[in-house]
């Protein structure tokens, strides 16, 4: 700032000095910190106590689930809001600048506290548990990690998950991109066609599993007509019926088909809007220079939407890493169809081996750390532009 201030500026700074509200200025950092922590913890705590008390009361009264749900909805809406309002009122009564300094922490803090309880503490604890045995009582060193990298079923699951990570995002992006380009050229019905591809995004993996188990349904030859459409088509070509989900290798591919069916709509929607964002004059210029439509697509459209493709791809990689419902409902991990998330739940839920389950969870966590770092970097870049 220059040494010479205009009269208005000087008046402005003076005014600020004069009208700054009275109150503690120095040494109040610790006070603010303590009050901030209290406020951030008090809101979730109050809310939890209120909910639990209500629940215990309702349980003691033996009310119907509908009524319980209805009351719960009311508390969820007004309760959370009410607790925030009450704490905010209390903070307003704090002396001087203290109230304005504590207030942001009462608003942002509860979310951070809940995340600490539900994600950070568990993540740290999971690392600890991964060095303990099945019942989390004795220290076993690296034994659980040894299991992760030596057990035959685990090794199969690692191999399969790698295949999933490669096949599913590539297929979904390819089909989604192709469909987006083609649908873009339709005058009418573009959005209807896209809706139909997007529709599976609405349904559960378990529901989708049933849908596709019926597609792959199998009957031993001679025991009646094939009612699964895949076997019906297959046998009509003169082949013997096949129990698709038990052929090693192929069954994995057939499970991946389900994920592609579910996720292509996501790739299609994102890539479609990216394609529409490619500048029209760029396309025109390429065409005037004599580029074919195929060349325009590969040399103009694709480079322009590359960042969207990367986003879709990484998002799907994370999604695929966590896939377990499909395998759970289709094959239960039998016949060489294990995947890593399925192994984690199997160990934790079915075998009740918390140590091994935790070790697999830690492995999954480490797998997403690169993506986490990319996210943070991208966010910091965005913030510096702001």
């Amino acid at each position: 700032m220059s040494d010479v201030l205009s009269p208005q500026q000087q008046a402005g700074t003076d005014e600020e000095e004069v009208y700054r509200p009275p109150g503690p200025r120095r040494g109040s950092g610790i006070v603010v910190f303590i009050l901030a922590v209290i406020a951030a913890v008090a809101i979730p705590a109050l809310f939890f106590v209120a909910l639990e008390a209500t629940f215990e009361f309702m349980e003691s009264q033996n009310l119907s689930p509908i009524l319980t749900g209805f009351v719960a909805i009311l508390i969820a809406v007004f309760g959370v809001f009410g607790v925030y309002t009450a704490v905010d009122l209390a903070i307003r009564r704090l002396p001087g600048t203290l109230s304005e300094r504590v207030r942001p922490y009462a608003w942002a803090g509860p979310a951070v506290v809940i995340l600490l309880i539900y994600l950070v503490y568990p993540a740290v604890n999971t690392i600890q548990l991964s060095f303990l045995d099945a019942t989390s009582t004795n220290f076993v060193g690296w034994a659980n990690y040894e299991y992760v990298f030596t057990d035959p079923a685990m090794l199969r699951s690692l191999r399969n998950t790698l295949a999933w990570i490669f096949v599913v995002p590539v297929s979904a992006v390819a089909i989604g991109l192709g469909f987006a380009v083609l649908a873009d050229k339709l005058r009418r019905l573009e959005s209807l066609a896209k809706s139909m591809i997007f529709l599976p995004m609405a349904i559960s993996f378990i529901g989708a599993g049933i849908v596709w188990r019926f597609v792959y349904a199998f009957r031993i030859e001679g025991s009646g007509e094939q009612i699964g459409i895949l076997n019906a088509a297959w046998t009509s070509l003169g082949n013997a019926p096949v129990d698709w989900l038990s052929i090693n290798g192929w069954n994995n591919l057939l499970l991946m088909v389900i994920m592609v069916w579910l996720q292509t709509g996501f790739a299609m929607v994102i890539l479609s809007s990216a394609i529409k964002g490619v500048p029209e004059d760029m396309l025109e210029a390429a065409r005037i220079d004599g580029a074919t439509e195929v060349q325009v697509f590969w040399r103009v459209v694709v480079p322009n939407i590359m960042s969207s493709i990367v986003v879709v791809f990484t998002t799907m990689v994370i999604g695929v890493l966590k896939v377990f419902d499909i395998v759970w409902v289709m094959t239960g991990g039998q016949d060489g169809t294990e995947v890593i998330a399925e192994r984690m739940i199997r160990n934790m839920f079915t075998f009740r081996d918390f140590g091994r389950g935790a070790a697999i969870a830690v492995f999954m966590f480490i797998a997403v750390i690169p993506i986490m770092i990319i996210n943070i970097r991208r966010f910091r870049e965005e913030e510096s532009i702001r």
Partner: protein, 334 residues
């Protein structure tokens, strides 16, 4: 878009089409595009159509002929029935499961939204120390797989030890008359198999995304709005309730739809924290149990699956715009 020649034309004719003013319309290639799109759409729909048709047929009809044969015998009313739905709703408990799913989904949608909206406002429009770091913390948690949280939260909900502070044992032994070996500090909880436990779990797991999305939206609202409101004497609370919330309805709706369907369709969190007992189980759990119990009772499985899909589909068709926005924004959820 004015360019209409499809890329497939090139491979067919062996030579590229020269784009003119970007308005070439070739009827043949246009029809080819239509056919390809139609074929893909059909491939996408056939599995679901098969499910719907089968759920409406009698068990005998399902077993004796493929569902696609109904198009030849659509007038044969003896094959149609609603009995499958009645059976699944009543005998297999899907009616109760549907209600349970709603009881789980609605609060598990609203709670994270309220908490996240307050946080998003603070991150956008309040100045405080640590704001950037706290938000980076939220961004970092976006992709953390919730599998990491399952075992510790399960132990926590079972009233298990919160913190093992056995290193305090000598101190305790010294101060008290008892010989103490292990010391555990914790809050006794019994949240396993309760709706409350699942709501809170979904709230925790849904928060990073909710805060992130809402902060992006609320932070992009024009700052002139806040300033003029402040000049009019409104404080943060008034600005938040009277200005921010009404203005954020599109973003709130998009996230609400995403979170609602995520919870509605969730299997994992419900399996771990709510369990498979009939009085609390949700639709996905009931469907999975049905699948395990009656591997080949297709009349029940298809009807059950369709019941689990009907509400998401209604949401999809009625709120498509918000739905697509919410699903695409929310797909990063960990």
């Amino acid at each position: 878009m004015s360019a209409t020649s499809p890329p497939v034309e090139d491979t067919q004719s062996g030579k590229g089409i020269k784009g003119t003013e970007g308005g070439v319309t070739n009827t043949g290639s246009r029809n080819l595009v239509r056919v390809i799109v139609l074929v893909i759409v059909l491939i996408w729909l056939i599995p679901a159509i098969g499910l719907l048709i089968t759920s409406l047929r009698t068990p005998a009809a399902i077993e004796s002929s493929g569902w696609w044969t109904v198009f030849a015998s659509i007038g044969d009313t003896s094959q149609w029935t609603l009995q499958n739905y009645r059976e699944v709703l009543e005998s297999n408990g899907f009616a109760g499961a549907f209600l349970n799913t709603l009881v789980v989904s609605v609060p598990a949608t609203i709670m994270p939204i309220v908490i996240a909206t307050f946080a998003a406002y603070a991150f956008s429009w309040m100045e405080f120390k640590g704001r950037f770091l706290m938000f980076v913390f939220v961004v970092a948690l976006l992709v953390v797989p919730l599998h990491v949280a399952l075992i510790p939260i399960l132990q926590l909900y079972n009233g298990g030890p919160l913190f093992d502070v056995s290193w305090l044992a000598p101190v305790v032994s010294f101060l008290t008359p008892w010989e103490v070996v292990t010391v555990e500090v914790g809050i006794p909880l019994d949240l396993n198999g309760t709706f409350l436990g699942v709501w809170l779990a979904h709230t925790g797991f849904g928060l990073p995304l909710a805060v992130y999305l809402l902060r992006n939206y609320i932070g992009s609202l024009p700052s002139e709005l806040m300033e003029s409101a402040r000049i009019d004497g409104a404080d943060h609370y008034a600005i938040f309730t009277r200005l921010i919330i009404p203005l954020s309805v599109p973003a709130l709706a998009s996230f609400a739809i995403f979170q609602f369907l995520w919870v509605f369709n969730d299997f994992l969190v419900a399996l771990v924290f709510l369990g498979e007992t009939a009085d609390v189980r949700v639709l996905t759990i009931a469907l999975n149990a049905l699948n395990g119990q009656f591997q080949n009772s297709w009349h029940l499985l298809t009807a059950g699956a369709f019941i689990s899909m009907v509400l998401p589909m209604v949401v999809f068709f009625s709120l498509q715009r918000f739905f697509v926005r919410g699903m695409t924004a929310g797909a990063v959820k960990g």
